[in-house]
């Protein structure tokens, strides 16, 4: 039998510190409490933004405690290391008793904590078959020991469920280890690839440092599709992986469906427009249907075809909201007419007839133009992710075993008395003691139905 126990001397004191459940409770509670700060203070922003928001004093104060990047701070990591050591030492500490209980060969006929007593008129010999039959209905393993005055029966099931504890606690260590591995050896990069071009170097998200890849990512096309409401339906990039100029892999990726190649996973992460220098607007005369195309750029002003009014392009908004609806890209313009106050005119790119509602003499719309996009790709590698996933599965299995299954034991002792027999029924369960109490009473009722009815 493996036996790991408390060492002596100073290591013994360290052991005592890490073996305590008080420490577990304190660490869990501290992790819960301190984690709140990182949700109230936005993490990893620019120092200037913090000074702006909190002022100089609180900026320094928060900074001392690493509250701007707290989940990676030394003290948060210390809490995690403490929890890990706590789990490890507790696991080792109870390893030997647990293994004894799970793999016990000899049954123990000592009475258990939940007890009932009953007097019975039948003989010990009669009761033995009844007891064996009843116990075998619920329990797989039954042991009977005879003595001069009667017999004792021991039954148990689910001893292995005590290993659920190990599944839960080791899973936490495995997944923390996987996370550590990922944070050391993982690569978390980003690259923007314009349509029709390829890229072979990514930039790390944290430091911005360039990392060359041993393959090239080519973006063949990037497309956005929309719902009728104007909200985005899908971002889609058609990618080809090139090695030495040869296509080795090809896939159209969308947000929830990345491309995997050589340990890297390439995700659709963002996009952008390669802005043309000038944009074109269409002016359509409401009465005659006459159509005139004019070039415009941000900050510039163009005259209407009739020369009576002029339009200034203030900005091109990527995601404009009109009456609570996201209409996507829109041109925000200002219309000037002699003798009238300037008026704001919104031209949603995808809704060319929107300006009809203004009821002006000329209907203005953004001319259809071929936009070139770049696709923003997250390029990642995480060698620890499989450990993390293994930890996840173990954690779920462990919780299920520990919460919904139990190690149950029952001991029935029968002793002959002058009037018949005296029966003691006792049981124990790692879970649901109320249920076990009920079962012990039900068992006792078999021997003395009057008292337990």
């Amino acid at each position: 039998m493996i036996s790991i126990s408390r060492p002596s001397g100073l290591p013994g004191q360290v052991w005592d510190f890490f073996v305590s459940v008080r420490l577990t409770v304190a660490t869990l509670a501290l992790l819960a409490f301190t984690s709140i700060f990182g949700t109230l203070i936005p993490q990893n922003q620019h120092p200037a933004d913090y000074i702006n928001a909190y002022g100089e004093f609180f900026f320094r104060f928060f900074n001392v405690f690493d509250l701007f990047n707290m989940y990676n701070s030394w003290w948060y990591r210390l809490l995690m290391v403490t929890l890990t050591l706590n789990i490890l030492i507790c696991s080792l500490n109870r390893l030997s008793p647990t293994l004894k209980m799970v793999f016990r060969r000899k049954p123990a006929f000592n009475r258990l904590s939940i007890r009932e007593e009953a007097d019975c008129e039948r003989s010990a010999r009669e009761l033995r078959t009844i007891v064996e039959n009843r116990l075998s209905q619920t329990f797989a393993k039954i042991h009977v020991q005879e003595d001069e005055k009667g017999f004792s029966a021991f039954a148990e099931k689910g001893a292995w469920t005590r290993l659920g504890f190990y599944a839960i606690h080791l899973s936490i260590i495995i997944l923390l280890f996987g996370a550590l591995l990922g944070s050391i050896y993982g690569i978390d990069g980003h690259v923007n690839v314009p349509e029709g071009t390829s890229a072979g170097t990514i930039r790390l998200r944290n430091s911005g440092a360039p990392v060359p890849l041993d393959f090239q990512i080519q973006c063949n096309a990037f497309n956005i599709s929309y719902y009728k409401t104007g909200a985005v339906r899908e971002f889609r990039s058609s990618l080809t992986i090139l090695e030495d100029g040869k296509a080795v892999s090809e896939k159209e990726i969308i947000v929830n469906d990345p491309l995997k190649y050589k340990g890297f996973t390439i995700y659709q992460s963002s996009y952008g427009k390669l802005k043309a220098k000038t944009q074109k607007l269409n002016f359509t005369n409401r009465a005659t249907g006459e159509k005139v195309e004019k070039e415009i750029s941000v900050g510039r002003t163009v005259a209407f075809p009739d020369g009576a009014r002029e339009l200034t392009l203030k900005k091109v908004a990527d995601d404009h909201t009109l009456m609570g609806q996201d209409v996507g890209e829109a041109y925000v313009c200002e219309l000037k007419e002699d003798g009238k106050t300037p008026m704001e005119v919104i031209l949603p790119t995808r809704f060319p007839s929107f300006d009809k509602m203004r009821k002006g003499e000329w209907i203005i719309s953004v001319a259809r133009q071929e936009n070139r996009f770049y696709t923003g790709l997250a390029v990642k590698k995480d060698p620890g992710v499989w450990l993390v996933y293994a930890g996840f599965l173990m954690l779920i299995a462990g919780c299920f075993i520990s919460f919904f299954m139990s190690h149950q034991k029952m001991v029935i002792g029968v002793k002959e008395t002058p009037t018949g027999t005296h029966v003691s029924v006792s049981g124990t369960s790692t879970r649901n003691r109320i249920g076990m109490k009920k079962r012990v009473r039900e068992m006792a009722a078999i021997f003395n139905p009057k008292e337990y009815s």
Partner: protein
């Protein structure tokens, strides 16, 4: 023509009636009111189920075609559904009727908030690209089963505290189950909630990894779900290893449910990836 909004409005009123019946059963000591309450609750639950199902169908008819788990309205309706399902199960399993007094009002409150709050739109809208994944259904169902477990545990914890205040053994308090039974029920509900919250967080992590390549990014909703998980983990250790029972556990369970509420509602006030639900 019956549509899902109508069905769900009817559900709201049915659930209100259920709460009234259970409260009546408790205050007037009428067992049949509680029995009737359960019968009506099952009807309400059927109506709730039909409402969610019909909404799913409607989303296909509108050409969006997604499970009805995509915004606050839908999630609250589903929250009511999971709490109702769990409570029906608990009443049948543990054969305690009167405990519905502390569970059914939660079922009503969630759906009433969804139906009546002016800030919550019941419109079916299309799914944003980030939510388009097979993980959506599994993630939402497991998270909400977890929330439901904690909600019922919260109801029982309140019941425990109310029960333990009652010195008069003949009064209202005496009609509640014994303290030991309520304590055990609370514990069972916390374990149920903890298992499903664990699965919910894990499915969320796996999903995040398949969509963004990061299984954990300390986004406020993620962090708050972890805070909730840590609080209930503390509760379980206190109960199993330190022998905490009764009032103390009831208070920790109430604290845990406050964290659940913040994870659910409060986080939407903070910026992050989950800003849609």
């Amino acid at each position: 023509m019956m549509n899902s909004s109508m069905l769900l409005s009817i559900t709201t009123f049915v659930y209100a009636f259920v709460s009234v019946l259970y409260i009546g059963a408790w205050t007037f000591k009428k067992e049949f009111l509680a029995k009737l309450g359960m019968a009506v609750l099952i009807c309400g639950f059927a109506c709730n189920t039909a409402g969610i199902g019909l909404r799913w169908v409607e989303s296909y008819q509108m050409g969006y075609g997604h499970a009805p788990f995509s915004n606050m309205y839908e999630s609250l309706v589903f929250f009511s559904w999971t709490v109702a399902a769990l409570y029906i199960f608990v009443e049948f399993k543990y054969r305690e009727r009167i405990i519905g007094v502390f569970a059914t009002p939660l079922i009503f409150l969630a759906i009433a908030y969804a139906s009546l709050s002016p800030n919550i739109a019941d419109k079916i809208s299309p799914l944003i690209p980030a939510l388009k994944s097979n993980w959506l259904i599994g993630h939402v169902i497991t998270c909400f089963l977890g929330y439901a477990g904690f909600a019922v545990a919260f109801g029982f914890s309140i019941m425990y505290l109310v029960r333990s205040e009652g010195k008069d053994e003949k009064g209202l308090m005496a009609r509640l189950p014994s303290s030991a039974v309520i304590d055990e029920l609370t514990y069972q509900m916390v374990m149920f909630g903890f298992l499903f919250l664990t699965i919910g967080i894990i499915t969320g992590a796996v999903w995040a990894n398949s969509a963004w390549g990061t299984y954990w990014s300390w986004d406020p909703k993620e962090t708050w779900s972890l805070i909730t998980w840590l609080i209930y983990a503390t509760l379980l250790h206190l109960r199993m290893m330190r022998g905490w029972h009764g009032k103390k556990i009831a208070w920790v369970s109430i604290l845990g449910f406050m964290a659940v509420l913040f994870t659910y509602f409060g986080v939407n006030l903070l910026p992050g990836l989950h800003s849609y639900a």
